[in-house]
């Protein structure tokens, strides 16, 4: 396996532990083999020294981040090319977002989700039936779902 994610200046990281858990930041300076200086002006992370142990490296890099860059420079670089928005498109980020959304659902929302899931599975099963019929029962069911689920 080739190593691709390095601890380097500009690497976008996710904080795993502590009060900022779940937030993203960029590595600005590497202090020693265990600590780095991170900053996330657009994600609400104060410029701080943090042990690498508390971070997960993402595959994104902030272009234009120089070693020891001040917060203003970082903000400008983010304005030019936003790696945080790119990260939000990844599957992992979407999963987290889904979980957060699900936790916020109120009683009516939960009811609506239940009804929509039932409708969706009804659609899927009718698709499956027609596919089975048309190929004599040997088809691999790849029915695409109908309604969007939260």
């Amino acid at each position: 396996m080739v190593l691709t994610k390095f601890v380097e200046v500009g690497r976008v990281v996710k904080i795993n532990y502590g009060p900022q858990e779940g937030r993203l930041a960029t590595i600005v300076e590497i202090l020693n083999d265990k600590r780095v200086l991170i900053d996330g002006p657009t994600t609400g992370v104060q410029r701080q020294v943090i042990p690498i142990r508390r971070l997960t490296l993402t595959k994104f890099n902030l272009k234009g981040a120089t070693r020891g860059a001040r917060t203003g420079v970082i903000t400008k670089a983010i304005k030019k090319s936003d790696p945080f928005a790119q990260y939000a498109q990844t599957l992992a980020a979407k999963k987290v977002a889904k979980k957060v959304l699900r936790a916020k659902l109120n009683d009516f929302d939960r009811f609506r989700v239940m009804i929509l899931r039932k409708r969706r599975s009804a659609l899927l099963s009718t698709q499956l039936k027609t596919l089975k019929k048309s190929t004599g029962g040997k088809a691999q069911a790849q029915a695409k779902g109908g309604n969007k689920k939260k």
Partner: protein, 188 residues
């Protein structure tokens, strides 16, 4: 010598019989319970009684402190009903109650009439329980009046409910907890 009259206590009053004193409420006028941020039109979940789990629409708080709710009757079978706010979960869902006038409904509306009490009598008093023709007629008009009030309130409500998709089905369904639900995590 005329001096101060001294009153001497004979002693405590000792009851001669085992008198059963009925519970006497010291507070004559009921103090309405402070309403936890519940707003007219809010959907509540009833937690106890025959309609437990049903989602109903809150209309107003009555003078006695109880909450006046209605199903609406056509949607889930819950009539105009008084409910204790302690046995209710307020949800954040609201129905528009601007066209609904629940002004004429108060605690008196729910009081049992003499004819009703008479109807329940059994045994020795059963004969007394039978209603006269005029009492029956009076009961009939009373119930007709109640049906009318229910209908007038519900019609306005159902019109508002129909505007939101799936709200009608929502009010018709009961709330329940499954194996995997964590009630303390639920947002209502």
């Amino acid at each position: 010598m005329p001096g101060k009259k001294r009153t001497v206590r004979i002693g405590n009053w000792y009851k001669s019989d085992d008198e059963k004193v009925h519970f006497v409420r010291k507070r004559k006028v009921p103090r309405p319970s402070k309403l936890r941020k519940i707003v007219p039109g809010q959907v509540l979940i009833l937690l106890a009684g025959r309609f437990q789990g049903k989602r109903v629409v809150f209309l107003k708080q009555l003078k006695s402190g109880l909450l006046l709710v209605t199903g609406p009757f056509k949607l889930n079978g819950v009539p105009l009903k008084r409910v204790n706010s302690a046995y209710v979960i307020p949800t954040s869902t609201k129905v528009d109650v601007n066209g609904v006038n629940a002004g004429q409904v108060d605690d008196e509306y729910f009081k049992r009439t003499q004819a009703q009490r008479r109807k329940n009598e059994q045994g020795f008093w059963a004969k007394r329980g039978e209603l006269t023709a005029e009492q029956q007629a009076a009961e009939k008009t009373r119930l007709e009046g109640k049906r009318k009030t229910q209908k007038s309130i519900d019609d306005a409500l159902i019109a508002a409910v129909k505007k939101t998709p799936l709200m009608k089905q929502y009010l018709g369904a009961r709330f329940s907890i499954g194996k995997t639900t964590r009630p303390h995590d639920l947002v209502f």
